[in-house]
Amino acid sequence: MSRIVDRRLNGKNKSAVNRQKFIRRFRKQIKKAVTDAASQRSITDFDKGESVSIPNRDISEPFFHHGKGGKREQIYPGNKEFQTGDKIPRPQENTGKGQGKEASNEGEGVDDFIFELTREEFLQFFFEDLELPNLIKTKLTTITETKKVRAGHTSDGIPTNINVIRSLTGAMGRRMALRAPYRNRLKEAVDELNELLKQYEKTDQVIIDLQDEILRLENKIKNIPYIDTFDLRYNNFTDRPTPTTQAVMFCIMDVSGSMGQAEKDMAKRFFMLLYMFLTRNYEKIQVVFISHHTVANEVDEETFFYSRETGGTVVSSALKLVTEIIQDRFPTNDWNIYIAQASDGDNWQNDSTTCKHLLNEKIMPYVQYYAYIEITEDRHQNLWQEYLTLKNQWDNFDMQRIEHLNDIYPVFRKLFQKREHGN
């Protein structure tokens, strides 16, 4: 007859597909809304969803229905003072509404259609048609990374890998097996001896022979070794290739006197964007902060963004530090390396060529991508000129200039926009 079914454990996201379709359908509008929202948003709270609004007219579904005008008669409840034949001036709104049913729905609905994007969806749109240069290449190379995994046991190996339990159980089995024939014979001999003792004297030859045999058997049993080399079992390991997606991101910033708080702030925003972008592509990301004036230091995040130092600028000091850190801690076949450098472009005159050589020989061959942003409103400085030649030489080198806060996102997009893979 009647049934009660508990459906609560059935999936609740039945509408997820339709929601996805909706988002895909209006991606152009949503993208625009996301871009607008992004420009108003502080970079630090980029890490959450966003409510997005789309003009209602864009998403309405048209159907044939009556418009305003013509002659229509409508019944209303709640008459108070009207008499038949009363003439009333036409009210401004609500005239010619077909059936009033929709009115309540449309109450709030006249303006835009607003809905929530999740954080993932937001970032998806935000970073859409951006990509990490050279990502494919590194993915292929990082496949060679291997991991040791257990693979049963072997009979030879190094002492540290001895599996004690396996080895001892093996030894015990061997001992029992080897002992068995002597034991049986020993038991028989002892029984026999007891029988014979009833008939013969202890000095009789039969007794002495039997006692000799018993002694021999007991010695044989005693001489079976407790553990033998072929009892030993070793834990076996084999190499299994595992793809790793890990990246290190170097943030290099000029903290010399010429960089003011405003410039640093812009640099910070740029680094944040890059960091979020990388987290979408790599499981594990390390960030290394290097600040420099005439000497370079690896610092923590707090110091990096907020300490102020003064002095001249020697960019190559930072680049040298980068090469050292890479050699020490980030073997290039395991790590995808991204470097972002922010500076006002001011550098000690002769140092710029040193930088160029350093980059050419020690850095560019090993990194996935090197982005340089120049934060200044003045004309280009000497570092820019030197870097220009690098840009022509290396595909994975790019540089842009940021003048205002508003430039950050466009510049970021320009640096990471999808490009044809020529080679």
Binding site: S2, R3, I4, V5, D6, R7, R8, N10, K12, N13, K14, S15, V17, N18, R19, K21, F22, R24, R25, I59, E61, P62, F63, F64, H65, H66, G67, K68, G69, G70, K71, R72, E73, Q74, I75, Y76, P77, G78, N79, K80, F82, T84, D86, K87, I88, P89, R90, T95, G96, G98, Q99, G100, K101, E102, A103, S104, E108, I114, F115, E116
Partner: protein, 512 residues
């Protein structure tokens, strides 16, 4: 066996008469089962004829899902359902919208959803309202029995869902979406208003679908054959008119005759129009259906109380909710949004019972045929044989008109002012009854647009004809709909607006 069951029910009602089923607001499966048994018994005593009931407990999220797919448990996927979902979700989270207490599916067995968050009182209310009220309406109202097949709708929806997803993988999501968008724009014009549609069945659909594809295509090819035949040439002094008579079902006409559609596209058109057809009766019986269900939950739960099975607390909660449901704001209230179908329907159903049980002289004058008769039989007849338009035309009593203080406003754009054409007095009853009845006539609510002509020997353009009703023009979104129509048809589509005297007042052409 049935006898024993009845006896058991009888004893239970007697022995438990002093003890309410529950005293708290928490529900348990056991309590729901007990209330359901009692409600079932009472409904049976009132001779409600229903499909078997299946109650399903769902969460609020699942209710939102169900909303988005027009209440059906399955459906094909489309962005518009996603939009609906996103909209409801947002409004629900903001607290702008409470969820409906119930969704009930016109299927056999009749599936009624009970939401987890509701109290036991609300669950009982929903069971009485949906699982017995709506259920019996679905099973017996003439529109539903002739136009929908409760036993096969779920199967058909499953077929539709699978077919659409097959098309998506074979022809691409975008192509499918384009067709569905266009069909949705015309779905209100994809119903037969007079012809009885064929029964739906999953197996038949699947087996016949292939045949149908081939057959349909051959028919279409035949219609659009460009090789001139001899006898056609000899008759060609008078241009052939196709279709020979205007067609009201535009989607059907497109499915059968559009020159360029692929077979799978025709099948999609068919799916949209079949589902539109299934919902067509619901759109025509809103007042009656809700009125009937509300009347029965009120009657059944009161009976429950009279028998001592419902506590006072239960009744207070129920009555509060019931009162909200049947509240009719007046026209000048900020909450006014048209006539509340629950309020009007419930009042009319209750009024029918009153007219049967305690008729006044006025009732005897207005309703001589049933005043003072058996109320259950009268209500049953009304439920079975009417739709909103005819139900109001037949049964709206002067008392209801007075209770609601109904008045009618004539809004003619040729006049400077609007006019009160009738109020709730002797002179106005008849007029108000007719006007309100017309207000529920889909034929006058929706523009009358029909397929008029196809230029088969010329540019293959399709001409739709809009016959104006009281000079009411089409909304400007019609231009967008025309684009969809042209997309389906594949050639130019022309929309002519015709005044009642037959002259064409406006023509709109959508070039393909």
């Amino acid at each position: 066996m049935t006898f024993i069951l009845c006896l058991e029910n009888f004893f239970r009602s007697v022995s438990m008469a002093t003890k309410p089923i529950s005293n708290t607001s928490e529900w348990t499966f056991d309590l729901i089962d007990q209330y359901h048994n009692e409600i079932e018994r009472i409904a049976g005593n009132f001779n409600l004829d229903t499909y078997p009931v299946q109650l399903e407990i769902i969460t609020a999220e699942q209710m939102l899902d169900a909303y988005a797919s027009i209440g059906m448990p399955i459906g094909y996927t489309h962005w518009s359902f996603g939009k609906e979902f996103v909209r409801n979700q947002k409004r629900y989270q903001r607290g702008q919208m409470g969820l409906a207490y119930e969704i009930v599916i016109n299927s056999d067995p009749c599936i009624a959803y009970l939401m987890e968050e509701n109290s036991i009182t609300m669950q009982a209310l929903v069971i009485a309202h949906a699982a017995y009220g709506h259920n019996s309406f679905f099973k017996n109202n003439y529109l539903f029995t002739t136009w929908t097949s409760a036993d096969s709708i779920i199967d058909y929806l499953l077929f539709a869902k699978n077919y659409v997803s097959q098309c998506e993988s074979r022809y691409g999501t975008e192509q499918v979406e384009l067709i569905l968008d266009s069909c949705h724009a015309l779905k209100n014009f994809g119903v037969d208003r007079y012809k009885r549609p064929a029964k739906l069945s999953l197996q038949e659909e699947q087996s016949r679908q292939k045949e149908r594809e081939e057959y349909l295509q051959s028919q279409v090819n035949d219609l659009w054959r460009t090789i001139p035949t001899k006898d056609l040439d000899s008759n060609s002094d008078k241009p052939a008119c196709f279709p020979s008579e205007p067609q009201e079902n535009i989607l059907y006409f497109i499915e059968k005759n559009a020159p360029l559609l692929e077979p799978w596209q025709r099948e999609l058109v068919r799916i949209v129009r079949k589902i539109a057809q299934y919902f067509y009766p619901q759109r025509q019986t809103q007042v009656m259906n809700e009125g009937w269900a509300t009347f029965w939950h009120y009657t059944i739960l009161n009976q429950l109380y009279d028998e001592g099975l419902a506590s006072d607390g239960f009744m207070v909660e129920f009555l509060q909710s019931h009162t909200n449901v049947v509240y009719q704001p007046e026209f000048d209230s900020p909450y006014f949004s048209g006539i509340n179908p629950y309020a009007l329907g419930f009042s009319m159903m209750s009024d029918l019972r009153r007219i049967c049980e305690h008729p006044t002289d006025e009732d005897r004058k207005w309703f001589p045929e049933f005043a003072g008769s058996n109320w259950q039989a009268t209500l049953d007849t009304a439920m079975r044989n009417f739709k909103d338009e005819s139900f109001i035309g037949q049964y709206l009593s002067p008392k209801i008109i007075r209770d609601f203080k109904l008045f009618s406003i004539l809004d003619d754009d040729k006049q400077k002012e609007i006019e009160v054409s009738a109020i709730h007095n002797d002179a106005g009853y008849q007029h108000i009854r007719e006007t309100l009845s017309d207000q529920y006539n889909l034929g006058s609510l929706e523009p009358n647009i029909q397929v008029h002509n196809v230029d088969i020997r010329g540019d293959r353009s399709l001409t739709l004809r809009h016959t104006q009703y009281h000079r009411i023009p089409l909304d400007e979104s019609a231009n967008e709909v025309m684009k969809h129509a042209a997309h389906l048809w594949g050639f130019n589509v022309r929309l002519e607006t015709v005044s009642p005297d037959g002259s064409i007042v406006h023509t709109f052409v959508c070039e393909q």
